[in-house]
Amino acid sequence: MIPAAFDFVRAESAAEAVAALAEHGDDAKILAGGMSLIPLMKLRLATPMVLIDVARIRDLSYIKDAGDHIAIGSLTRHRDVEISELLKAECGVVSAVTAQVGDNQVRHRGTIGGSVAHGDPASDLPATLLALDATFVVTGKSGHREIAATDFFEGFLETALGSEELLTEIRVPKAGPSGFNYQKFNRRAQDWAIVGAVAVTVGGAKKVGLVNMGSTPLRARQVEAALAGGASNSDAAQSAAADTEANQDLNASVEYREHLSRVLVRRALEAATV
């Protein structure tokens, strides 16, 4: 399967990438690792006229201690996130979940920023970053702006990222050595999650993210509220499917996904308490 023809532009800096976006507008797509975009292009579900390759912008690949948070450059590859000692110590859930993205080959190419900007509700990382109340830094012509993860994911593969903006940094809180767990339910190795649930404790509060339970990554707010009110893990998990809008597909009915969400949230909470 060969994608439709396009022009290839290589950006050597964030400023060059933003300038190229301004020049080509909606005809252009940013290419980082390409692990989400290239399959869509091969199926011709995406037919950008111009690809702006940002993978060589070295200064957007980093994991830094920024005082009250950890700053991750958007072009940091999954592999580097997976093995980062800093992340393992300060926000281990990000490394642990990243280790479950795709397979080794995918993690050698794919980037955290690509995963966020693609905004797939079935992806592992967006729901995790949503649960962490991460902040996304985007760069445009007029400079940087910060977008809270809760405001970022707007619809199926739609985000608050402007068509002339580049996602440049992901900020995650220092959760310290708190408990966390990710339950990814799939039928075969390497498949997308049919449903996933991530539980993590940040600043004493338990946060729960849901994968593939709607058109965007979701938070299980009712579960979080029940836990804050003193409910047991198993009682709180009963409301995991509240406010979700799960899809039916070949793998699962809506009812089955809702059932999975309750079971997986309970398991994630129980495992995260250790």
């Binding site: 290839f8 390409g34 080959q105």
Partner: protein, 156 residues
């Protein structure tokens, strides 16, 4: 667009269309057909090659993205005297293949895996090769081969 890639240690320069996939480039421009197109959707791993020493799926990469990089295909793994790479030798000894279609990708994925984790457990090997499918259901001997290659490397 002009690209320059080191393939199996040999410098290659070609004028390619931007949409040329790396696997197409290797098979058609470089005439290296050891790298296979299996599923063509980055699921099966038959197209796995090493880019700057790391396993990647060449069906889900543009040749343009490898510009300036160093690619190793199955043809470039054996020593110049023709003797097999330890991973190839281990696949040979443990009979880690049946039809052979997945083998090039399996071997290269396994080389990258041992590079990152020199002493893997059986579970590490099975998880580490989750991006490579064998439809002869030959995983048992493949895993044995990778563990044998790791042990051989350790013994040196």
């Amino acid at each position: 667009m002009k690209i320059s890639v080191s393939v199996n240690g040999k410098s290659q320069e070609h004028d390619v269309e931007p949409r040329t996939l790396l696997v197409q480039y290797l098979r058609e421009a470089c005439a290296l057909t050891g790298t296979k197109v299996g599923c063509d959707t980055s699921s099966c791993g038959a197209c796995t090659v090493l880019l700057d020493g790391e396993s990647v799926k060449s069906c889900t990469m543009f040749a343009a993205q490898a510009d300036g990089g160093s690619v190793t295909t199955i043809e470039g793994l054996a020593n110049t005297d023709g003797s097999l790479h330890p991973m190839q030798q281990a696949f040979h000894e443990k009979h880690g293949l049946q039809c052979g279609f997945c083998t090039a990708g399996m071997v290269l994925a396994a080389v990258s895996l041992l590079d990152e984790n020199p002493n893997p457990t059986e579970k590490d090997v099975r998880f580490g090769l989750e991006g490579n499918l064998c439809r002869c259901t030959g995983y048992h001997n493949i895993v044995e081969a990778v563990l044998a290659a790791a042990a051989a490397k350790e013994a040196k």
